[in-house]
């Protein structure tokens, strides 16, 4: 009854305040498009599809509660029409919500009107919204970044986003969204993955209006200059693009490293970032892996090969079990929550690289070609070595891998080292490309076995120890070319010279 009254009041105010809900034709067209392209995630009734809500994090938005993350309107207010249209057009990177660049302006408008029908709020007194004014960004400077850091600390952003912005603040592991799904504080060092866009204006909007439905609050930061200082600090934490790599070079060094004391060796080497995605290929699937990238460096001495791995993880799980072959359920809820799982990482190489033949399957090898796994269980101090002939056949063996690991400010660093030549296992011959891939397990996410983040095969190039200087070949080839030119000129002139001048 109350709702009815409210509704009536709402409709009355509609005409009064001229809220734009679109025409019947527009909403009908929107409904058709919605049922074709959106209903399977957002639900035919707009309440979110039950099956997909299990499989995507964040879950597809439930439109019936009229809660929207990306708004130019105040915290708790409804979004403007343009906000909804922007969200549809641009999507939310690294979530299940894709961008829809192929939809026309009219189609997006119709969808927006239809989405508004899922909640009465749009027709009611809250329906009329005034977007906040978004000022143009002033220029960025060294000082604004330094002051921004102070604003960041003063406003307790670090509580959730962490000291260095890696999403590892003390409250981070406890966060849930309005719909009681666990949610992670954004990793501010990966701006390319921001859901609402990565420009300075986007960041400004994010903390000014907050992300409704998520724990990310809105902040009224004063004086106004400090708002842009904070933007600049957040902006400075990350490069623009992910720039995912496909190859890492093992630089030559004179002697094996001491894995426990190797920072100085790797300091001067630029890391390569490889994209990590969910293992959704074999049973035990990881639909929302905890880790989305791993940074890799490598050095090679005459007798050893060493790999340094770094990735961001909001909390270090250093107790519990870990293993590449542990069983993980596929899509069913976790059985026994008294068992906990430790973080872990594995580097994978083909056990034998014979030129011309195939490589092992990138998920732990196959029956014809096996894969070597250097496995670092981060609850242990020692790495182990497995040989995989497919994820169902992974055998522990005696190959020795030295390992050290450390965790600080939301980042794991793991260094592993192996002898360069061990018969029956991957060889690291100089001047060759060795296929390399990675698996990462986030214990917080209860990842183990097949439930993990994976990469495909990339390349590890083993640099040559003694590089030939280009000077001598340059001179000799250059000289040979000159000689050739002179001889040609001489011959041509001798044969045709008279004729031509005659």
């Amino acid at each position: 009854m109350l709702t009815l009254l409210l509704l009536a009041a709402g409709t009355a105010s509609v005409s009064a305040q001229n809220i734009d809900l679109g025409s019947d034709a527009q909403r009908d067209a929107g409904k058709q498009m919605y049922e074709l392209k959106c209903a399977h995630c957002h639900g035919a009734d707009g309440a979110g599809d039950a099956a997909m809500s299990e499989l995507l994090r964040p879950a597809p938005r439930n439109f019936t509660s009229s809660t929207f993350k990306f708004r130019t309107t105040g915290s708790g207010e409804l979004p403007s029409d343009d906000d909804i249209k922007d969200s549809i057009r641009k999507g939310m990177p690294y979530t299940g919500m894709p961008p829809w660049p192929s939809l026309s302006e009219d189609e997006v408008t119709n969808l927006m009107y239809y989405i508004k029908t899922f909640s009465d709020d749009f027709a009611g007194v809250f329906g009329e919204v005034t977007p906040l004014e978004m000022p143009d960004p002033p220029s960025m400077s060294e000082e604004s970044i330094i002051r921004g850091r102070e604003v960041y600390i003063e406003n307790s952003c670090a509580d959730c986003h962490g000291e260095k912005g890696r999403g590892d603040g003390p409250s981070a592991p406890t966060l849930e969204d309005t719909w009681n799904y666990p949610i992670r504080a954004a990793d501010l060092t990966k701006r390319w993955a921001f859901r609402g866009g990565s420009s300075r204006s986007d960041i400004f909007r994010t903390f000014t209006t907050g992300l409704d439905g998520s724990p990310m609050p809105s902040f009224d930061i004063q004086p106004p200059e400090d708002q842009w200082n904070l933007v600049d600090y957040v902006y400075s934490l990350s490069r623009d693009e992910a720039d995912y790599g496909t190859m890492v070079v093992a630089t030559t060094i004179a002697e094996p490293i001491d894995v426990n004391n190797a920072a100085s060796v790797f300091d001067g080497i630029d890391p390569v970032l490889f994209a990590v995605v969910g293992q959704v290929i074999e049973p035990g699937r990881a639909f929302f892996p905890g880790v989305n990238g791993v940074e890799v460096r490598s050095v090679v001495s005459p007798s050893t090969i060493s790999i340094m791995l770094q990735w961001n993880d909001m909390s270090a799980e250093t107790t519990g079990i870990a293993g590449p072959g542990l069983g993980a359920p596929d899509r069913t809820a976790d059985e026994d929550t008294s068992i906990t799982y430790a973080d872990a990482i594995a580097v994978q190489f083909p056990s034998g690289v014979s030129a011309g033949t195939g490589k092992p399957y990138f998920l732990f090898g196959d029956r014809k070609a096996s894969a070597d796994l250097w496995f670092a269980d981060l609850s242990a101090t020692q790495a182990t070595h497995y040989t995989g002939k497919g994820s169902g056949d992974i055998q522990l063996d005696e190959t020795r891998i030295e390992m050290s690991s450390s965790y600080s400010d939301g980042q794991w660093t793991v260094i592993m080292q192996r002898d360069r030549e061990i018969s029956g296992h991957a060889a690291f011959t100089e001047g060759t490309f060795v296929p390399i891939s990675f698996s990462v397990w986030d214990g917080f996410n209860r990842e183990r076995g097949n439930r993990r983040g994976i990469t495909m095969w990339y390349s590890l190039y083993i640099d040559v120890a003694v590089k030939e200087s280009p000077v001598v070949p340059m001179i000799s080839y250059g000289f040979a070319t000159l000689l050739l030119g002179l001889i040609t000129t001489f011959l041509v002139r001798r044969k045709f010279g008279d004729k031509e001048s005659a």
Binding site: L36, C41, A275, P283, Y458, Y477, V492
Partner: protein, 270 residues
């Protein structure tokens, strides 16, 4: 494709028609034009090894073109000889004699100091399917099998759309991560894979294939590919471990339904 580059090359080549070039000039203009198209007009860039192969072929073609007609050949040799002998070209000749070695030395330098490029392996995208496969203990003859629910489209549209809808749920719950919401091969995990997940909106994928072929690819995935298709790289799962025969036929119906494509008819094969 970078159309700006390609169009500009075409425009320049067209404009050169009005500058009276001899046969040598034309050959050189074409060579340079094609080089620019390959080098800057194609995204992602053509790897160096392939590039030199292409340019070798282009050179052969141009030589063949020039030498095919006697007067063209003569025009070319005459202008070449003139370049070496005629005093008019003295400075140009001297410069070329000096510049060429410098260019060669530079080439040697970049070749020896540039980062090595990982080897690229070509792959056969659509290898011939096996004659029959064993699917969950049952033999399926790929030459004769057809989608048992396809005919429902005419005979029982309601049952047909129930199958399409079942396929829709299967697609979203299993395939969307790679093949994407709009089936353009750009799902949320697609950036982690190469070869990239197939784009079903592209007319060269499912529209070109028979439903029995899709059944094979979906049931056996990457591990079922022959080695010329580099099965160790492809992320395409073998769905026989997750889906029943009926579910695979359903998701196939949905792929065609959503993209508005039709499977290639089996008569066309022979």
């Amino acid at each position: 494709m970078n159309f700006i580059v390609i169009v500009s090359v075409a425009v320049v080549l067209f404009a050169l028609r009005f500058a009276k070039l001899n046969a040598l000039g034309w050959a050189v203009a074409w060579w340079v034009g094609v080089y620019i198209c390959f080098r800057y007009g194609v995204v992602p860039p053509v790897p160096a090894s392939i590039m030199s192969m292409y340019m070798f072929i282009v050179t052969l073609v141009l030589v063949a073109y020039v030498s095919a007609a006697h007067d063209r050949m003569k025009e070319v040799t005459d202008s070449l000889i003139a370049f070496f002998v005629n005093p008019k070209y003295k400075i140009a000749l001297g410069l070329s004699l000096l510049l060429l070695p410098v260019l060669v030395a530079f080439q040697v330098y970049t070749g020896m100091t540039s980062q090595p490029q990982p080897p690229i392996s070509g792959r056969t995208v659509h290898p011939p399917p096996p004659g029959n496969i064993s699917f969950q203990g049952k033999q399926i003859d790929l030459l004769t099998v057809h989608n048992p629910y396809r005919d429902l489209a005419d005979s029982d549209p309601q049952a047909f759309s129930a199958h399409v809808n079942a396929g829709r749920s299967i697609y979203y719950q299993n395939c969307v991560y790679c093949h994407g919401d709009n089936m353009e091969g750009d799902g949320m995990f697609a950036h982690g894979f190469d070869p990239i997940p197939a784009n079903f909106q592209d007319p060269t994928t499912i529209a070109m294939l028979q439903e029995s072929y899709l059944f094979w690819r979906i049931a056996k995935g990457a591990p079922g590919l022959p080695s010329e298709s580099t099965p160790w790289f492809s992320a395409m799962p073998a769905w026989e471990t997750f889906l029943s025969e009926e579910e695979i036929w359903d998701v196939i119906l949905f792929l065609y339904d959503y993209t508005g494509q039709l499977p290639r008819a089996s008569e066309e094969v022979h």
